[in-house]
Amino acid sequence: MHGATVYNAPRHAAAPTPMSVFRSLAFATLLVAATLLATALLLAIGGYDVRLALAALWTGSVGSWYSLTSATLVRAIPLMLSGGAIAVAFRAGVFNIGAEGQLLAGAAVAAAVALGLPSFGMATLLLALVVGAAGGAAWASIAALLRARFGVLEVISTIMLNFVALSAVSYLVRGPLQEPTHAYPQTSSIASAVRLIQIPGAGRLHVGLVLALGVLGAAGWIMRHTAVGFRLLAVGESASASASAGQIDVGAVTMRAFLVSGALAGLAGAVEVQGVTFALYENISPGYGYTAIAVALLAGLDPWRVIVSALLFAALEAGAGAMQRDAGVPSTLVSVVEALLILAAVTAQALRLRRSDAPAAELPAPVVVRAS
């Protein structure tokens, strides 16, 4: 397996110190500033009215209570969960580019459970969420097994599985799961008892937000403070060192990270079905699983920071629609901004390593992780 330069973990103390709070604020500010600057630059290059476009971006993302809750925060939920999925995988040296496919798999099985089982209210709701996560993990397990058994590069296999998942959903919503009238390529709406409840006074925003925050909070805590998290980071930093010095079962840690990653992405799909769309159809995800890669990389693969970058990207994508409507700026411009931010982050990382004269032990050494 080909490894990547492993990202520098913020190694904070347990309690937030003034320094760590300051650093997190600085991180968020820098991210927002860089995003706005890149967007403004691209708008200027494209010859668009920068002021008008940025105003539309603001209005469409955070400028009103409605856009903040029903556009930005609703989008942030799947981005947080799938961004967390990428962070967990990449941290362990697993290049899971397949969050999109795992999200679709989770959405499909969650929809199947929510529609197919007799409704016991809360119990079915929870079951659909759990099964959705399991579906995502199962989809990821194909790539995980191919890597473990045959050394197949998961970058390729997970992308292939994304296309297969999309074909499978396309088949399901025109075949076995299609709504009874067979007029539309989608499932029937799931019963209200199995829907995630909406937060009162906050438009379309649902309790999935609380779930996502809880999951990412826990993931960040596990990575920082537990042996499980330590083993994950150790394997990601150096598989060979972990195996020889740390007596860590590298294969098992890698496999678990892959499955947990798939489960988080699958959960994102289930939450989307049960909280937002209430039905399964082909375009259920506008590429959340791909945006998640940018979200996780910008967050330095830290689950807590993923919350910040997911909010930022959700605002950006929510505002992109408004930019297209009000200022005629193609919404795909946002992908360019995202790509520029990733390139800037990865290049800055490489340059920092290059210039640094710090002793080797303190460097997060770029290490190649080889699959056994």
């Binding site: 045959f150 590069l153 795909t332 992908s335």
Partner: protein, 311 residues
């Protein structure tokens, strides 16, 4: 329907589908033999498709191919700058460049040709039957009545095989992919050759994208590369990093994709989504079966070390 009526169009479709895959994969062979892996190939193909659109609408088919190669070169130059010169991570850089290509081509397409993205009809390169060869029964028309770009593949695969295996420059490239430090010690300009390999790979990836537009679809659609860059990388593995093997592997993939047309022609009643998924399923199966036996260049995908003469 007689067998000939099914087989001949099937073979022709196989070769047609294989052409862009073979071009992109042959380029990636050079990149991977130099020890790099360019996931941004997908982005180069998409950029090439857009370059072909711009070139062809401006000044015809030939300009379309030129635009395709140029666009692929731009993506490759960005990859080379980040990875070879700045030593950024290859996988992440490649992923970002693919994302960037999706964004840039989508944005420019909507900005230049209207936000509705109405389908444009472009001049396409007509098939150029080779006299004599094209009249061989069954396979003649399939192999030798193709657009000229297909014949580029027929020439390129053996030429690359000879270049890699029999020339000093080819040996140098392979040495870089196996032991970059040793190659450097032997006086080979490692960085320069890697940059050139990436650029060649980008040009061929761009040409592959141009083929999609100018020899197949006759139009551009957002995201029309549809994972072919990743399939091409799988083809490189399946072809064991050898140009001739890669060309054959591409043909196998072309045949698998062409199955959907053949099955439809035969009135096979399976859901069409299954056929759409075949190339991707085949990639998975091929990777699972091929990787264990093939040996990749030893330095493939490893982070680049500091050049001795610079640090």
């Amino acid at each position: 329907m007689s067998e000939v009526e099914v087989v001949a169009p099937f073979l022709a479709a196989a070769v047609r589908t294989a052409t862009p895959l073979a071009l992109a994969a042959l380029g990636e062979v050079l990149v991977e033999r130099a020890g790099l892996i360019n996931i941004g190939l997908e982005g180069a193909i998409l950029a090439g498709a857009f370059g072909a659109l711009v070139g062809a609408t401006t000044a015809g088919v030939a300009a379309g191919y030129a635009g395709a190669i140029l666009a692929g070169l731009v993506v490759a130059a960005l990859f080379a700058t980040c990875v070879v010169l700045l030593r950024a991570d290859q996988i992440i850089t490649g992923t970002a460049l693919t994302l960037m290509s999706v964004g840039v081509t989508g944005t420019l397409y909507r900005a230049i040709y209207g936000s509705s993205g109405a389908a444009l009809s472009l001049p396409t390169s007509a098939p150029l039957p080779i006299p004599g060869l094209s009249s061989i029964p069954v396979i003649g028309a399939a192999l030798f009545a193709q657009p000229p770009v297909t014949y580029v593949v027929y020439l390129l695969a053996p030429v690359l095989a000879w270049w890699l295996g029999r020339t000093h420059a080819g040996l140098a490239l392979r040495a870089i992919g196996e032991r970059p430090e040793a190659a450097e010690a032997a006086g080979i300009a490692v960085n320069r050759m890697r940059v050139l390999a990436v650029l060649a790979g980008g040009a061929l990836g761009g040409l592959a994208g141009g083929t999609l537009v100018l020899a197949q679809a006759g139009t551009f659609a957002e995201n029309m590369s549809a994972g072919r860059g990743f399939i091409a990388i799988a083809i490189v593995v399946l072809g064991r990093w050898r140009p001739m093997g890669v060309a054959l592997a591409a043909l196998l993939f072309g045949a698998a994709s062409a199955l959907q047309f053949a099955f439809q022609a035969m009135g096979w009643g399976a859901p069409y989504q299954l056929f759409l998924a075949i190339p991707y399923l085949l990639t998975l199966a091929a990777l699972g079966g091929a990787v264990g036996r093939a040996r990749a260049p030893a330095a493939l995908g490893k982070p680049l070390s500091r050049p001795v003469n610079r640090s």
